[in-house]
């Protein structure tokens, strides 16, 4: 056994060496000074930092965002937030359905941007959340300026994120009233696992509107096969049924 | 010249208990000197708090003396060379309740440097000597106090030590268990092993030991040989009572 003093000196030396080797490390995450959480979320953010669980808390914020926006379809009442702008129908079983069109998701949702941005403040790498927020703001809530703000924040910490750039371009074409270009621009994004189902829905709608039923059907089939959002899946199936009945009547 | 099994020379032990501000000090042993020759059975008598357990822990290297010198077969008790020759049975030894005696012994055997066939042989021999063989299939949680004490003794015997340090080896045991342990210790002594045991039972010490050290408040009050207490009226008990009064 070496002398006790040597043990203590070696312990300090090792600790210092460990700290020195770690000193070059910089966190990839946005700094806490950028976190502008709504007050009730501040404790959660502290926990996220303390437990090194930013990803998990970003997930939870994302769930809250979806709940705020109404990720699932709500039945019939058009007065409900997010359902004012589109028609509703009742099927043979008495179930109410939203008839999604380009106006889907219209509403005020004043906290949408800060909530969506907060997801990225907690975990900038959550591209799916950034895309969901931007697409909802630009094409659902008709607030392209806020969508651009969100994407700009996302790009600050993920400058090479092509998906953000793609949506930015689509927003530009949308502002220029060029739906065909929007559909063309977002096409490469549709197969990406991060692509929000809402964007797929928009692409399908734009293709349908442009008369490209084959492309629209392919996107609806993809939604039906891959999405876990029942509302979108049901809608996609309904659209596919419409396409097949239309094709049948033509024959 | 063969070194003494145990040598205490001017040993003092003071315990320090840290407090919020400063510390409390308690001197357990003062200027203690004695010697235990190899092959002798020596008893240690004293009232509670007399320093018996402190002496045993100093011999086994669990405590360090504040002053003075402790030697075990000529080595410092902290040295491996000393520890390899000492077997220690603390008062009320603990073994994990889920294990079987052979498993517990195998662990301590490995810690004593045994392995392979020599480990198996040592475990078997210790079990046989302490009468644990019939209970080999039981788990420790099924053991009575007497069986636990036998297991404690077995772990002390595993590596064939030359000195056994036993803290209250017969405390709380039934007469049959006491008889068995007494016979075992007598047998070990006949093989030339030194035994140093502490006890509150004067009659047990009287039966087993050839010499007794009487501790009073951390000091060695008397060292009494068998011949002395056998010659004295009232025997060892009277000598002890007079010493501690």
């Amino acid at each position: 056994m070496p002398p006790r003093g040597a043990l203590l000196a070696a312990a300090f030396l090792c600790w210092g060496a460990g700290a020195y080797a770690a000193s070059a490390y910089r966190s990839p995450f946005p700094p806490p000074s950028e976190m502008r959480a709504p007050l009730e979320g501040a404790a959660g953010d502290m926990l996220a930092l303390a437990a090194g669980a930013r990803r998990l808390f970003a997930d939870l914020w994302f769930v809250r965002l979806m709940q705020y926006y109404g990720a699932r379809e709500m039945p019939a009442e058009a007065e409900q937030p997010g359902h004012e702008g589109h028609a509703h129908s009742v099927d043979g079983l008495g179930h109410a359905h939203c008839d999604h069109d380009e106006n889907y998701g219209k509403g005020r949702y004043p906290l949408f941007l800060p909530m969506a941005r907060h997801v990225l403040e907690v975990d900038h790498s959550f591209a799916a959340a950034g895309l969901y927020g931007a697409v909802s703001l630009a094409f659902g809530l008709n607030r392209p300026a806020e969508a651009e703000q969100l994407l700009a924040y996302g790009l600050k910490y993920s400058p090479r994120e092509w998906k953000y750039l793609t949506v930015l371009a689509a927003i530009g074409y949308s502002k220029a009233q060029d739906p065909a270009a929007v559909a063309r621009t977002i096409a490469p994004l549709l197969k990406d696992p991060d692509c929000p189902v809402m964007l797929k829905q928009l692409a399908a709608f734009l293709n349908k509107k442009a008369g490209d039923y084959a492309a629209a059907a392919a996107i609806y089939a993809d939604i039906a096969a891959t999405s876990r959002d029942e509302a979108y899946v049901k809608n996609a199936r309904r659209e596919l049924e419409k396409f097949s009945s239309r094709a049948g009547s033509r024959r | 010249m063969t070194p003494a099994a145990v040598l205490f020379s001017g040993v003092e032990k003071t315990y320090r208990r840290p407090r919020l501000l400063g510390a409390d000090y308690h001197t357990a042993l003062k200027d203690l000197s004695f010697e235990i020759p190899p092959g002798e059975v020596t008893g240690l008598l004293g009232l509670n708090g007399a320093g018996k357990t402190t002496i045993m822990k100093l011999i086994t290297g669990l405590l360090f003396p504040t002053a003075g010198k402790v030697r075990v077969f000529g080595h410092s008790p902290s040295e491996g060379a000393a520890k390899a020759r000492v077997g220690f049975l603390p008062e009320l030894p603990y073994f994990p309740p889920q294990v079987k005696p052979a498993e517990a012994l195998a662990y301590y055997g490995r810690l004593s440097g045994l392995s392979g066939a020599s480990l198996s042989a040592a475990v078997d021999s210790a079990m046989a000597r302490t009468g644990l063989e019939p209970h080999a299939g039981k788990r420790v949680l099924e053991f009575s106090k007497g069986m636990l004490q036998r297991l404690g003794l077995a772990q002390a015997l595993l590596h064939g030590p030359d000195l056994l340090v036993l803290d209250e080896p017969v405390s709380g045991l039934d007469p049959l268990a006491i008889h068995d342990i007494r016979s075992l210790l007598a047998g070990l002594n006949a093989e030339g092993k030194a035994v140093f045991l502490s006890s509150h039972s004067i009659s047990e010490v009287e039966k087993l030991c050839s010499r007794v050290l009487i501790m009073v408040r951390g000091r060695l009050s008397r060292s009494v040989t068998r011949a002395e207490w056998e010659a004295a009226r009232g025997g060892l008990e009277k000598i002890f009572v007079e010493a501690v009064k």
């Binding site: 056994m1 043990l7 203590l8 312990a11 300090f12 030396l13 090792c14 600790w15 210092g16 060496a17 460990g18 700290a19 080797a21 770690a22 070059a24 490390y25 910089r26 966190s27 990839p28 995450f29 700094p31 806490p32 303390a50 437990a51 090194g52 669980a53 930013r54 990803r55 998990l56 997930d59 939870l60 769930v63 979806m66 709940q67 990720a71 790498s125 799916a128 189902v197 999405s227 876990r228 959002d229 | 822990k57 086994t60 290297g61 669990l62 360090f64 491996g80 520890k83 390899a84 603390p90 603990y94 073994f95 889920q98 662990y107 301590y108 490995r110 810690l111 004593s112 440097g113 340090v165």
Partner: protein
Amino acid sequence: MRRAAPVVLSVALNSFSESVRNRFFTLFAVFAFTAVYASVLAGVMAVDQEARLLADFGLALIELTALAYALFGASSSLLREAETKTIYLVFSRPVPRWAYLAGKFCGSMLTAALMLAVMALLHLSLLYFRGFGVPEAYGWALFGTFLKLSVIVSFAFFVSLFSTSAVSTLVISAIMWTLGHFASEARFLAEQSAGLKGFLLGALLWLVPNLQLFNVRDAGAALAIGPSALFSAAAWTLSSYLGALWLLSRKEF
């Protein structure tokens, strides 16, 4: 040294088997099973991000459960052995204290590795039943968690040798674990602050192991555990071990 290797192994295996036999091990395993499977509820709410949420939830639960059990074990191990006098039977034998401490640490890490493996299997089975594959950088995330545990468990052993109770060891170690995750944020603040404040914050950073270095669970594939991170983990672990040995070398029982 060569003669001490079997001692290290014996103490490690004994400590491992005692940990696994402990009834709290089963309790923690049941908790982990329930919590991991209960995360399905949260996953469903994430709709198309269910796979990500299940992966994040599971990895965080795995780490917290393993951390809680490892700290529980490390903070009470030496104390319990002293209280039950088991340590008398160990240190009255020719067992070097460094070997005993190394064995105890290895036993704790073996237990932690087993817990991580069992919980990861549970978690992957849940992902499989929900139709998802193995998340990206999953193995690295577990390895990162193991490195964090190594740093914090050795620190807990160090603390347990001077603290007055297992609870205080647990609390101090948990605080260190939390600070370790704040280290990167603190570095940012230190670099933003000027003068004495910045200097003090910077100095303080040297006292806290930066656990974000190993936090692949959080940073995902973007964080690679490179040689410098491995070196830091080894250096911090060794430092706490040496500190603990410094205390143990003169500790009386």
